[in-house]
Symmetry: C2
Subunit: 566 residues, 2 copies
Amino acid sequence: MARLNLKLLLFLLIAVVSCTLVTYIFTCGHPTSSHTSFIHRLKESSSPESRGKLYEELDCSINGMYHISCRKEGKEVFVPFSFLEKYYEVYGKLAKSKGHEQFEWSHSYSKVFKPTTRYNSSGMFMYFSNYNVEVRDRVKCISATEGVPVSTQWEASGYYYPVQVAQYGLSHYSKNLSDRPPKRKILEDGNLVTAKWQVPKGASVKRNYDNEKFTHVLEFNSYDSPGISLKLRQGTDLVLSFDLRLLSMNGSLTIFLEDRDRSTIFPVSFVCSPVLIHVLNSSGSYSTNYGLGSCQNWNQLTRDLHVDLVKGHVLSGRGKKLSKTKLRIHHLIVKGYGQLDNLTLASSNHMGMFYSSADWLVRHQDTSGGWPIGVKRKIASGKADLDPGWYSAMGQGQAMSLLIRAYYRSGKPHYLEAALKGMKPFSISSTEGGVRAYFMNQYPWYEEYPTVPPSFVLNGFIYSLIGLYDVVSLAPQNQVGDAQLLFDQGMHSLKKLLPLFDTGSGTVYDLRHFSLGLAPNIARWDYHSTHINQLLLLSTIDSDPILTNVAGRWISYMSGKRAAHN
Amino acid sequence: MARLNLKLLLFLLIAVVSCTLVTYIFTCGHPTSSHTSFIHRLKESSSPESRGKLYEELDCSINGMYHISCRKEGKEVFVPFSFLEKYYEVYGKLAKSKGHEQFEWSHSYSKVFKPTTRYNSSGMFMYFSNYNVEVRDRVKCISATEGVPVSTQWEASGYYYPVQVAQYGLSHYSKNLSDRPPKRKILEDGNLVTAKWQVPKGASVKRNYDNEKFTHVLEFNSYDSPGISLKLRQGTDLVLSFDLRLLSMNGSLTIFLEDRDRSTIFPVSFVCSPVLIHVLNSSGSYSTNYGLGSCQNWNQLTRDLHVDLVKGHVLSGRGKKLSKTKLRIHHLIVKGYGQLDNLTLASSNHMGMFYSSADWLVRHQDTSGGWPIGVKRKIASGKADLDPGWYSAMGQGQAMSLLIRAYYRSGKPHYLEAALKGMKPFSISSTEGGVRAYFMNQYPWYEEYPTVPPSFVLNGFIYSLIGLYDVVSLAPQNQVGDAQLLFDQGMHSLKKLLPLFDTGSGTVYDLRHFSLGLAPNIARWDYHSTHINQLLLLSTIDSDPILTNVAGRWISYMSGKRAAHN
């Protein structure tokens, strides 16, 4: 090693000079940082052993198909993460940990909730207290006539999707149990509590006895004035409930919301209109209007005004960014001729929203016990479409989980009745409009999408089982009908077929590769974790070790473990 | 950017000086290489824009579970391949391509052979002409009494494994068709061709008429001499055939092989002994001995002497490295009292080896048509063991493929008979000693390992189908019996169940996760490519698009493609 290569030495010196003089120090290292820079490494490794410890560019040929630029340092080859994240769909981000920067590699982006107690049918529904169904992009808004979300998932114009309605209700039922009790303040009930309305000249308010409601209500008429307003005390509560009846077609109730970040005020109105949601965005005036439909009857509403405003923002192209904590109700105005009662402001009203869902489900159940879904559902490009009017075992099950809770909480028999009727499609073949399919003519499966041939969606099937279980648990024993049998049969199928969903590194969402001859439909990580969460729930009510064993293996896949190869 | 950080400058200069003066140039870059070194990069990027393009060490936290050292350069993070190769089991190596070094990343290590013509039952068997069954580690040696390989796969003492015997024969049948015709030279037949034996004093050779063979043979007696030797002309042919009968217990035929690399001579002997293979390794003498069993009868042998020597080397701990091309036969010696005939040296004798297998299969078929396997086979730690005496559908099928070819080539009816009898276990349930199982009581499956519950091994099943197909193709039409039905039923099952082997990124070897409740048994890449090769073969005789579609998808997995997730 005593031989000096003068040409190399010359090159090196030129390189160093150009580095120090032309590009300033910053290009050459951060020796003061807690991390070791390249220059630092050179110093450290200034021994003959470190020969070859150079950092070089190196072409990487990927399966002989394309090339990327790698790095080489000694015998180690370094591969750029920008390649890996696409090739393997993994996730990485720079983050601070204990004061120093590190790169966090995540195999999956999803989480598992390990249950600590036995599942209780009258308790929270899984981890749905974490759900915010109404803020999802595929929810157009909460209907002011129905009080439930309107989906745009498979039809942009919007429709009521029983699964979503039930999940909305179950999430609020669960939030009611997990959140602290709501703050609640009655502002006006026409009787004991009266608000200080600002009544302009020519307008009027009075409190009359209403023959329909059997109580006193506020009657207002704004005539030609700009409206009767009520200024509210500053606060962060945004859930407003009220009973409203508009006796003139120009009647409305408008809530003015102040965005304290932007010092702007946004109105949200409830108006006489058949239109679900409409954003007025003409010169100088911006307003989100919700149609009340038949406004001349009493309408009972519970509104999360933050959600109501955001949905208008999205519709008008303003985006969904609007901090809930920076929003407050500034004042409200009633216009036209109408009646108002039980005007109540609260931090939340989960049970109100829950019962809105329950009531929607009671109203929209058909005589076959099903909640028909009014949109076409395309599974696998024309191979197994569902025409409007189909039932979903998942929809039935989730509705049953919700209705039986409504019965449990309210004691009202019509909720029980609806929950029990919801079982009916489980006994009818998917070829005849029901939700029951068979795997190889032997193992019954309740189909989230009752396609022909069947699709065997896993998570929807398990939700339907939980619905059956909830009915068995909370319905009077002499009325549960087939629920126990249907649940037992389903659990038997689940345990038998569960392994077919295991890919050795994740799960498949359904068995379409088996039944439709397509490529396997790999479950993305959030469905994968749903599978696991569902199995863990079932494992608290069924001690068969297959449930915990499979769940455990599936959990391990989320951090990159794979089943062994031979 | 005009501000100079003196501390940094100082540090940099010290680093550079230590680099240039202490560790010589070699540590600091290869500027003459076609690749850009780090120093080179510094020079190139000597502009303020390149700030942040520094190369730093960076901790990578893998799923929050452990840490590795990554590199950071600008916004790109580089991950060491030594981590990736373990985490993902991918393969990488530095290689020269068009004169410059590159790193070759391979998702899999296996190859697919796309068939160019329709599969022909009398032609080559798949890509078995590439197989070298006898050199596999799990082959102890080629038995000198049976002329077929002895397996140590599931029992170290060694046993005859019908699958391996058949594969040995099929590979030689295929090599016979793919290789050029052998060079072949008769050295001594006791009649027309006589060799120049060096007969020492007291020893004798004569050529007598043999009443058993109906031909003249060489009779030798070495008495007390060191043996009668024959020097061979220099050549590279290593396949020696001979008929040998040792009439004294101390009789032997020894071939002296010269390793021209090491200028060493290694003897391989065929001796009177019941011991399969024995390595003598005492002071100064080293020899590999093959026992002839009943040596006093005529033994007809065809030996690949390279293989014979290597197996001795492995047994004696010398390892298997021994270049075939550097080996030649130096001379051979007969000792004791015995007879020799048809001594023939050839470059290969594939058909001889093929018929050795066929004859072994004829000799060892039992009355049920099966080739019982004499070792216990443990599938999944005690969950579904097979006791000695089990049949393998794969063994049956491969034997049938071989025997029907032997019939086709020789016209000898006993090969046909054995091939047809080989079908019998396909109709007998694996619970009753046969190989027939059912998936969900509906789809018949011919079991490579007829476990109870069934294991549904894919590749063995398809080999069994090919065996049935070969019988249908080459047996006289009025004798094929159930072969067509068994084949059709099997193909029906295959097409139905094939998707269950698809993991979306590879295949499973079997369905043990379904039937035994274990983790999926992922097929390693060579089995995965076997699956594909088998499907491609079937696709040449069955036009159902499922075969090519699935094969195509499975091929794509080998270069990292995965089925889509939802």
